[in-house]
């Protein structure tokens, strides 16, 4: 099954997405999921995500295909939002389904690590005290991505 990739401004329905991967099937023994949410660190007002339309979908599809090549997955979904997102709202959803737990859990962590460093999104934080600033890339994310 081809990975399901969505890049959208609207919120997503994680439960409905999870159901798509298991409904009517009896070969899925493991469903792993990761949701990344916007935190209100230091009174952050909102996060604005810019992306590169066209390249984003392409990059996410490649990352998901890499996961499906490395692990025996029955399905894989990546949904990433862009635009203005306020604290408490979800930003990203990764779902992986497999016969066995290790494949689902490892590939879910792999997908998050790779999309953090290989998908063209840029976060700008709207600060509590007014104004905004671009989030800087972190060396720890590079290190996490390179362990795979």
């Amino acid at each position: 099954m081809a990975p399901r990739i969505l890049v959208q401004e609207a919120p997503f329905d994680a439960a409905a997405e999870a159901a798509r991967l298991t409904e009517g099937r009896t070969d899925v023994g493991a469903l792993a999921s990761f949701t990344g949410l916007c935190r209100a660190d230091d009174g952050l007002r909102a996060m604005v995500l810019e992306h590169y339309p066209g390249m984003t979908e392409r990059a996410l599809l490649r990352i998901a295909e890499e996961a499906m090549a490395r692990w025996p997955l029955t399905a894989c979904t990546v949904i990433h939002r862009h635009g203005r997102i306020t604290p408490g709202e979800p930003i990203v959803l990764v779902l992986t389904a497999s016969a066995h737990r290790a494949a689902a859990l490892e590939s879910c962590a792999f997908l998050m690590d790779w999309l953090k460093t290989k998908a063209p999104f840029w976060k700008r934080e709207e600060l509590a005290e007014g104004g905004s600033r671009w989030v800087e890339a972190r060396a720890t994310d590079e290190a996490a991505a390179s362990r795979w």
Binding site: H51, L115, K116, F121, W122, K123, W134, A137
Partner: protein, 83 residues
Amino acid sequence: MKILYFAWVRERTGVAEEEIALPDGVRDIAALVDHLAARSPGHAAAFENRRTIRAAVNQDFATPDTTVAPGDEVAFFPPVTGG
């Protein structure tokens, strides 16, 4: 050729997208950056510290020695921060 800028690179150049004619002798990303940096003070500021800039050619990540040709879509941006 189409040049795209994202995030603070876009803010500094002051444009999100521009069409340019690829000059003779410009054959890779490094040379293209030299050329673009001379377009305006904003462009110069955007490309001031080249180690902080990433590029893509035709929507694939590129390096300074990636070749560019007329008709390519080339994008410049900071290291990504999604997820």
